[in-house]
Symmetry: C2
Subunit: 508 residues, 2 copies
Amino acid sequence: MQRLLTPLKQALRLQRATQEPCLTLARLLPAAHQRFSTASAVPLAKTDTWPKDVGILALEVYFPAQYVDQTDLEKYNNVEAGKYTVGLGQTEMGFCSVQEDINSLCLTVVQRLMERTKLPWDSVGRLEVGTETIIDKSKAVKTVLMELFQDSGNTDIEGIDTTNACYGGTASLFNAANWMESSYWDGRYAMVVCGDIAVYPNDNARPTGGAGAVAMLLGPNAPLALEQGLRATHMENVYDFYKPNLASEYPMVDGKLSIQCYLRALDRCYASYCHKIQNQRKRAGINQAFTLDDFQFMIFHTPFCTMVQKSLARLMLNDFLSSSSNTQSSLYKELEAFRGLKLEDTYTNKALEKALVKASLDMFNKKTKASLYLATRNGNTYTSSLYGCLASLLSRHSAQDLAGSRIGAFSYGSGLAASLFSFRVSQDASPGSPLEQLVSSTSDLPKRLDSRKRMSPEEFTEIMNEREQFYHKVNFSPPGDINSLFPGTWYLEQVDQLHRRKYARRPV
Amino acid sequence: MQRLLTPLKQALRLQRATQEPCLTLARLLPAAHQRFSTASAVPLAKTDTWPKDVGILALEVYFPAQYVDQTDLEKYNNVEAGKYTVGLGQTEMGFCSVQEDINSLCLTVVQRLMERTKLPWDSVGRLEVGTETIIDKSKAVKTVLMELFQDSGNTDIEGIDTTNACYGGTASLFNAANWMESSYWDGRYAMVVCGDIAVYPNDNARPTGGAGAVAMLLGPNAPLALEQGLRATHMENVYDFYKPNLASEYPMVDGKLSIQCYLRALDRCYASYCHKIQNQRKRAGINQAFTLDDFQFMIFHTPFCTMVQKSLARLMLNDFLSSSSNTQSSLYKELEAFRGLKLEDTYTNKALEKALVKASLDMFNKKTKASLYLATRNGNTYTSSLYGCLASLLSRHSAQDLAGSRIGAFSYGSGLAASLFSFRVSQDASPGSPLEQLVSSTSDLPKRLDSRKRMSPEEFTEIMNEREQFYHKVNFSPPGDINSLFPGTWYLEQVDQLHRRKYARRPV
């Protein structure tokens, strides 16, 4: 492989000599790219500049090949029809058998992304994993992923695992972007991987599970650029959802508290985000308040889909309460009865919630609904939930629809850590453009979801029981037929006497 | 507090207006500093420049107030005298009772650092925790630390927990430095926290335990600046040390494999580091090979102290094998018998190891020995081990000795993730300089270690048994007298029925 890369090394040297900020990586992606590498991992002789438009060049979503239908679950659990499908907004839920664990999920999604982009394995200089599906308190999923890079000889890849509930994917994304803007960036791509297996005991919470993973390739000149210098974060110490019982796969959840924490974090992040962007505008000589109108699209971490509709509604409440009374009268007629409320007094106000959801329905349909496509059909995937929403948004809109827009993104992890940030979508939506290629790469999402196998609640429950039985076993090969997995899926082949895990891949 | 900050807000505004890169934070530290804050968390209107000399402004080490003597342990375990004290190079080992856990350790070290630097709590814009002492699979230690910031109203603090064995502290340090060089830096300090409770079953490995935490304050113009654009990393998928048994506090260890992995990672990182720095030199028009002579000091992750002496010796082997035969004859006379060896064939060569340790003894005494002071007396603290070595180095040298030097640092986490990087120490060692203040802040290390209580092996074993019994308990208050803790130590007050942990602080 070294010899193949020689022309590129020359290109890099030339680039260094001319002190251009960096290769236009996005243009190399995905199908028509040339080989790109800094195999020698020599830092580019960059001057102290940030590369332009660091963000997402490509992304890949993985979900299990089997699901349970939520109407079936409603019947099986003897609950009223619509409790899950309407109340939670969930129609189907993906789940994994013992054959899959967090390592195999991440192996699969990384391999798929690398194969689709056709990038050489030594073109990645950073890879970080966000997950809360901990199967080893010390050994990072990242180290298992190094197996994929072995043949390339690329072992100089920064980044390990990062954890706080559903926030780990966002922390990884931020860390990767920071690296790319720092002096330590060596000109190579960063990869952000997030995934989880969300399972609950056989009670009310079980229908809010799910499983999946997302891998994202980051570089400069990205069609989905992170807005430079702009992030709002809110963190607190709370016990709303946590996993203190290390011997069990299941979390402890205070559902009511968690919803309040989520909404409070949303309020705080939105206020801070508006404040920061308004300050940016001021410094640019623009005096204009920021409102939801400035987000053409808005995506959210999705514990269940109706939560997201209420969250967008909540942002409208924020805009309403902070606007002048003239604006309140003209723009928010349906909300006039709620004037003068304080945000912190409204978390359990059902009348307000109802009015907000109604008032924001149009906005929801335009800005957010499309992003829930995957979550509706696959469930909550914790750290990768928000990025599954991003993929859904891309899959349900054309590049033309998206071009030039701002996508707001709210990430929430219990405990709690939350951030609101945004992507600027590139203007160029022409055929073959990076944006168009990224968008079209997500177009198979519906077909892939349709091709999953529908399992009965009985089969689902049986598999959940098996997960419990095998959770701490050693010296076994997981039961099940590998042909039930999608082609190209990595799976757990064996756990030996010493808890060491061995993986294999179903042929593509 | 808001009113107190007003003059600083004005200073910040002025600074923004004049577009100076950033406040010279280091000058504000520690005793004579003025209050500094960006309470409004508005990003500075920086242009696309990296701040100068991002690195460590201040650091704080915490270790438990009790230890067991290794000669006592040798007798108690009926092993030959010197097995632990000479064979491992360990004289004492700190340990925690059930009153302390990873959260309390980190609470203590962060509070101590903030109190000593007298910084306002809203001057921190990023805080990340590296640990492998996982007591919750979802909720990050970072979220518990947010409790300390609550009164200040500062909830906009990026960063969560990061995990891969002993490497988490280094990953956090890198992430914090990247943030500070990125467009997302808002002018505030970053804090890196790492800590662990290293415990083993009652077998051969038990004397290699330890417990402690380190907190580091990061900013520009630091007396210990990270060398810009220079890091060498090596990662692989191996099972040398891991914690797959989630129901136990103890790891699985393949000691022999782990030593080989450590040394292989060291070889690879050193080769890559030399390659990268030589490339930097070439671009600056300097054609000079990098050798150990270019590190005035060298610190290592320290699983046990004799491992570090062998590791420095190993770096000499690297220099020896890559030098010309003339140099080999002149500089490395004692090693001539080992010419022509390949690095990868030498991991178990005892004759070579002995010759190397002898040949590098002088170098060890000059560059590394002082850094082992804390590790010798407190044991392995996993993620914070390397940074305890850094504190030891500072505590055993004068600012004058250190000024202008380069400190090499090798971080290793099983699984595996390893990096070699370096600090440049500032030239200014004058009284009151940031360097002098940082160095003098570590001078009480010997006195603090001396003030610990020596416990008998029987008492130590009893407390280890208690840790096992309480590991998964709920609804209890830890046994023990809080007066056995150092003043100002946070401790676990209660774990309630729902596994929620409550902490209190022993008065200062």
